[in-house]
Amino acid sequence: MAVGDRAGRYIVLDGDYRIVEVGPAAEAGFGPLLGQVILDAFPDSRALYRPYYERAKRTREPVAFAQYYDGYVMHVGLEPVGSKLIVTWDKLVMLDVLTLDGLKASLHNALSAISTWEDRLTRQRRRETFRVVEHDA
């Protein structure tokens, strides 16, 4: 599995989105959830993550997106391998909830991070589309 470059921060989901493998660096957060369906373990994440899981499963293509959840903006990567899905992530911004000023600043950073990633992913998708069009032409 091409997960070595993620320093062990990954989980593997089976076709039912059950956690079947946990990378060493993800052990603290996900180790206790091994064997559970990730969407059941985090029910309020269902609407945020499931559409991307479904897309990766349906297209068999890698999917990347930026998402806010539980105080963090994360860049999430999904890589279908056989019937499984490798999920990797990088934390981009953590909300600072200590003071209102800190919260305001970190919310601003969070929105900027989401916006930056959306722009980057849009440009990437556009480039991929052009490549396909050029190839077909």
Partner: protein, 131 residues
């Protein structure tokens, strides 16, 4: 439980010199330390109210956002020492953007009430002020 049971006492240098049993779990470790060392970035928010209580010799009550939620603090001066009664009002829910927005609205409303109508603390503490 009323806020009478939840309190800590500061000396004139804002060192925590007493913590009530009800707050011991969360604040017991602050005993003997400056409050500002134990609660980073709180000084800018709380200290003006603490100084007001010391200077006027009167109770001061305010609502502040700190540590992921809003807290009402009632400050009772005794010379340069202060007894602080904190009551947690609400928590920021950072789980999803939806819960974050909803809890921020509640917090905004709590802080706005204070901004619109500062409490008359003398009336607040007096049964004669009740209708």
């Amino acid at each position: 439980m009323t806020d009478q049971h939840r309190y800590y006492v500061l000396d004139s240098s804002d060192v925590v010199i007493q913590v009530s049993t009800a707050l011991h779990e969360t604040m017991g470790r602050f005993l003997g330390h400056s409050l500002w060392e134990s609660m980073p970035r709180a000084e800018l928010i709380f200290r003006p109210y603490f100084e007001e209580a010391r200077q006027t010799g009167r109770e001061v009550e305010f609502v502040a956002f700190y540590g992921g939620g809003t807290t009402r603090l009632r400050i009772v001066p005794s010379g340069r020492a202060l007894t602080v009664h904190p009551t947690r009002l609400s928590e920021l829910n950072v789980r999803t953007l939806g819960t974050l927005v909803a809890s921020l609205r509640q917090i905004e409303a709590e802080l706005a009430v204070q901004a619109r109508a500062p409490l008359d603390l003398r009336a607040h503490g007096s049964p004669q002020a009740l209708p």
